[in-house]
Amino acid sequence: MTDIPVLQTRALRCERDDRELFAGLNWCASAGEIWQIAGPNGAGKTTLIRILAGLHGFYDGSFTWPQWLQSDADPREKLLYLGHKAGLRDELTPLENLQWWLALHAQQADPMAALAQLGLAGYETVPCASLSAGQKRRVALSLLWIVDKPVWLLDEPFTALDADGVTLIEERLRQHAASGGLVIYSSHHRFDDAVRHVRLGGKQVELA
Amino acid sequence: MYFESFDAFLQMGKHGIYVWSAYGISALLIGLNIGLALRARTLARAEVIRLIRREALNVADSTD
């Protein structure tokens, strides 16, 4: 693992409705790590993830992806983002949703296998509207199996998941970190003591 | 002065009503706009000065 960090932020600061969410965030995340963005509600966890994903442009300071700077590839080719909304259209079936995502990420994979791994065998052609919230979250999380990207930005991945769903996702995150990927997720749930965290909402941003 | 008397100037040969109503409305609208702009500026400035004073107060409290 080279020592160049995957993500580097310098004095990242964000203000919304003239309330300062966080400031002076100098943070280095390198490959093989799992980072939890913790903090009370409204501390700016989602905003920070959206900034890193390139969805939110109003911030001060800067952040870069040093490893890909030379090849000036579009960072979005290395990023996988999952918002707290499932991102599925209720009228379509899980299969159709996943096929569209695959086309967007221009990747080839077998969505059926991914859905089966998430215990959704047999639900592939059922419109998402008739799935439960937990099942919809699983369909969204199947993105982690079918799209191969080094950096994962997950916003509240564990919401609406039952016990074995949570363990399934934890296992997948460890597996991804072990294989040299970087996982950044916002949640109240810290599933492993090896997980490092960025705590927002306090006077000072706390890195551990 | 093109007009013989001030009164002729007001009458403007039976077109006075149109000319003066046009200028009156324009002056009103433009004047209103500039007035609102100036008022908004003074309000914004007062807001900043109030913020400065409040911070000065906090600094004073925390040091003593």
């Binding site: 003239d18 | 200028y23 409305i25 100036l38 908004a40 900043v48």
Partner: protein
């Protein structure tokens, strides 16, 4: 020589692009711009109203031109400058560009309304009715709608920075369309009414009518510029009220 000009231009661009520099120097600029604007407007209007000769056809009702034409051209100029500011704001993400759009829009809309109202009032003695679907009045009406669209969009978006950027995009799209709208209205005019009723062609005006018109135009443009600077400073004060340099500037 050219590179020197280019250097000064880019230097100005970066300087005036930063709210801090803009705030300082607009204060200085305003101090002498206001009196100039008021003097120019007063002389232009008084000259046009009291001293310029009457029009042989329309008598004195043509004197409305000294407010109608400046307002109409300032409204158009305002919209085009909003488009340019929008383009600069979108392409180079300049903070000042969004602020300028919010500063120009209100006065532009008022000027479009003034041009519309004075045009309608002028229509009464010349054409006998207040509203005639004349090509120029109709395109001025559409110009007012375009302005109202931008202002409505700015007010509808809570986050001021996002509102600025959305208004930038709308202004750019609007400017492209303003040209097409003007031509389509002119063609539409010829389709339905035959030749347009030329009120008073600017070029055909004798010198003693044209010079007051030019001066009042200059006056209205300067008034427009002053109000835009004032509104821009207000917007800067609103957005930067937590920053240190603003506090020192207002100490």
């Amino acid at each position: 020589m050219l590179s020197a000009v280019w250097q000064t231009l880019t230097r100005w661009y970066h300087q005036w692009g930063s709210p801090r520099y803009f705030f300082q120097y607009s204060g200085v600029l305003l101090r002498w711009l206001w009196p100039l604007a008021i003097v120019a407007t007063m002389t232009g209007l008084v000259w046009g109203l009291a001293f310029a000769p009457a029009d042989y056809q329309q008598g004195d009702s043509y004197r409305i031109i000294f407010i109608h034409v400046p307002a109409a051209s300032a409204a158009l100029l305002g919209y085009v400058s909003m488009g340019v500011a929008g383009l600069v704001g979108l392409v180079w993400r300049m903070k000042m560009a969004d602020i300028m759009i919010k500063a120009i829009a209100p006065f532009g809309a008022i000027l479009a309304a003034v041009a519309l109202i004075t045009g309608a009032i002028w229509g009464k003695p010349t054409w006998g009715t207040y509203w005639v679907w004349d090509a120029r009045l109709t395109s001025m009406l559409l110009m007012l709608f375009l302005y109202l669209g931008v202002i409505a969009l700015i007010n509808a978006i809570p986050d001021p920075r996002q509102a600025g950027r959305a208004a930038s995009l709308l202004s750019v799209v609007g400017v492209i369309n303003v040209v097409i709208v003007k031509y389509s209205v002119q063609w539409w005019q010829s389709l339905h009414q035959g030749s347009t009723l030329k009120v008073v062609g600017e070029t055909a005006m004798p010198a003693e009518m044209l010079s007051p018109l030019l001066i009042s135009m200059l006056g209205i443009y300067l008034l427009f510029a002053c109000t835009v600077l004032v509104r821009a400073r207000t917007e800067i004060m609103r957005r930067e009220r937590k920053s240190q340099w603003l506090k020192e500037a207002l100490q």
